[in-house]
């Protein structure tokens, strides 16, 4: 009898010890460097002995991750506690009530004081309908990558306007006579990057999709000019080949890595690949500058970036919040900058000597990220994106004229925004 009681006591003690260990499951996309994230989680575990952080990864692209997360979250599955989401998602997560609101956890700090440390664009993206639904992990933006060696050979400075970029590309293509070399690479297939392609000329000309009150202000004329601009790169200026409707971001990146492009409009991740990949033929030959503007317009980049959010179906929200605060701290931002070349979300880190040692070009990146514009913030963003990328893709495939596609894009957006 005594033995039995002892055994029961021991069992109870053991099970309470197990119960004290909190397990948190974090979803990180395959392209968001799960290896570096694991290191960061290990650091958190060593400081918080009662917590174990498991990592779940999947889907290389934002769309693929979203497909998986949709099945998990639409079925109210509690297995994932913390999720790393693309900057375009928080609005939808809030509308679907997939994300826990973070305001209730803020002890002593006001939301303003917490958010003002970050780059303003992310503070803005993570507050939806007055509720804080996510905290920033790392920043991203689109840049103009160029072949330093080729531009120098022809005596060019990096272009600041699109006209310059087109002229330089034409001159270099004519001079090099290399059938495998192309001029200006941009995304044109049916993917998320093509949304940015559609928006860049609109921003560069001074326009936008919505006003400050999130009302639709895009006109057919602006949409047409953007579509025409990309089409002209192929047909009129002959600086892009005629199959741009096939090109996804990573295809441009791979081709530029093989030395097949003079210019490429790509997000920040490309830099590391150009410099460090074993098969890169352009090591040390690539420069990065802000995207060009139009005469009299402004330089604009497409804002990317990733946010930490807590699943509303999580059973460990308080613990998850503690983890998210750590993950969105300057300390982690610095680790991500050094180990994964992720752009920091804290402005001060762009001057940090350790960060600059690993990524010298970050020194000039801050103004670009600060001036980057965000894609439309709307819970039905995927539908908005679909309208835009299908429109540009159809024009590049020459199945629709820019006029017809612009009309469809604007009426498609009106249906979503409700005139």
């Amino acid at each position: 009898m005594k033995k039995l009681v002892l055994a029961l006591v021991a069992l109870a003690a053991l099970s309470s010890a197990v119960a004290q260990q909190t397990r948190l499951r974090v979803f990180v996309g395959g392209q968001q460097r799960p290896d570096v994230m694991r290191k960061i989680f290990d650091l958190y575990q060593s400081r918080n002995p009662g917590v174990r952080v498991d990592i779940e990864t999947g889907g290389a692209t934002s769309d693929q991750q979203q497909q998986y997360l949709t099945t998990v979250l639409a079925s109210r599955d509690p297995s994932i506690d913390v999720i790393l989401v693309d900057v375009i998602r928080p609005a939808q997560y809030q509308a679907s009530r997939w994300a826990d609101t973070l305001d209730k956890y803020l002890p002593g700090v006001t939301r303003e004081n917490l958010l003002k440390q970050y780059l303003p664009a992310y503070a803005k993206a993570d507050v939806v309908n007055g509720q804080l639904v996510a905290l920033p992990a790392f920043a991203d933006a689109q840049f103009l990558y160029y072949r330093k060696d080729l531009l120098e050979k022809y005596g060019f400075k990096p272009p600041t306007t699109w006209d310059e970029a087109i002229k330089q590309a034409q001159t270099i293509l004519a001079g090099e006579k290399n059938p495998n070399l192309n001029g200006i690479g941009f995304m044109g297939n049916i993917s998320e990057g093509t949304v940015c392609s559609f928006l860049l000329p609109i921003w560069a000309a001074g326009g936008d999709v919505t006003d400050a009150n999130n009302r639709l202000i895009l006109t057919e004329a602006q949409a047409k000019d953007s579509l025409q601009f990309w089409l002209d790169l192929m047909d009129k200026h002959k600086v892009s080949p005629n199959n741009m409707a096939e090109k996804a971001q990573d295809i441009i990146r791979q081709e530029m890595q093989q030395g097949r492009w003079v210019f490429g409009t790509l997000f920040a991740y490309a830099w590391n690949r150009f410099q460090n990949d074993a098969d890169s033929q352009v090591k040390g030959k690539i420069g990065v500058v802000p995207l060009p503007k139009f005469e009299g317009g402004r330089s604009a980049s497409c804002l990317g970036g990733w946010q930490w959010t807590i699943s509303d179906f999580s059973r460990n929200k308080a613990q998850a919040y503690k983890l998210v605060r750590f993950l969105s701290s300057p300390e982690v931002s610095k680790i991500l900058a050094i180990d994964a070349s992720n752009l920091p979300v804290f402005p001060s880190l762009y001057k940090d000597p350790d960060v600059l040692k690993a990524n010298p070009w970050f020194a000039d990146a801050l103004p670009i990220v600060q001036n980057a514009r965000s894609r439309p913030v709307h819970p039905r963003y995927t539908e908005i994106a679909d309208v835009m990328r299908k429109g540009l893709n159809a024009v590049l495939a020459r199945t629709k004229t820019p006029e017809a596609a612009a009309k469809e894009i604007v009426s498609g957006l009106q249906a979503i925004y409700g005139k």
Partner: protein, 301 residues
Amino acid sequence: MARPQARYRRSFGDLSERALAFWLLLPAALLLGFIALYPVLRLFYTSLFTLQLTVSPDANFLGLGNYGQALHDPRFWNAVKNTLLIVLITVPGALLVGLGLAMLANLPFRVKWPVRLGLLLPWALPLVFVGLIFRWFFDSQYGVVNDLLVRLGGERLLWVTNPDLAFWAICLTLIWKTSSFVALILLAGLQTIPKELYEAAKVDGASRWQEFWRVTLPLLTPAILVAMIFRTIAAFQTFDVPYAMTGGGPGNATETLAMYVRVQSIENLNFGYGSALAVLMFLLSMAVTLVYLRYVRGADE
């Protein structure tokens, strides 16, 4: 005959034949109900609501409104058109190619495995693999198809981004992929045709053509029908190959019904409307199947 039956009786206790049938069928009926009937009913139920997670997580009863919206949705009709065209082109296409392959495999080769392996291989490949592989075959810059065209003195074609060419590229891929399935069924059918019939035909002085038209084809009809039913139902659900090859592009030029259902429910999180589209797709392939089944019954009688 009487004895084994009596033994069954004894081992199942005093169950009447009816009750026995009931209990024996119950597991299968439950399983079918759970994996087939319940999802279909649930799908229909969801299609009667407005339920779009990007707008609100709550569902509101709408009645048949989603169906009305579908009938006025040009993108739905475009997807119906593409799906029907794929059915009309790839089913007969796969049948013709499959018949040829089956006849070839039925020839008395000394070494049979290369032909049989060639038959099985496309069938064994996952659809989305096939889509990805052919996406590269048809790539305008790096693709083997354009390479052949150039070597033969032709022009490079934009296979994946020209809407007509993209459609034909998809159809060719589907025919390549599915004709081996048809051939396998037809090969089984061919092997059931007694050799005596061919010998008798030879004795009567029939030509090769006459043999084919008068002996092979009539006796192969049941197998052909089975293959066509399976292929048609599958063709109505075409998704993987165009999804991997064109993503429905350029624009929406090669989007099929199944792809549009996915866009609405998985990407736009519009489960109400997506369900209505799925129900319409279900009805469409159901209608075609019923026509076939009627025909099969008529042929049997």
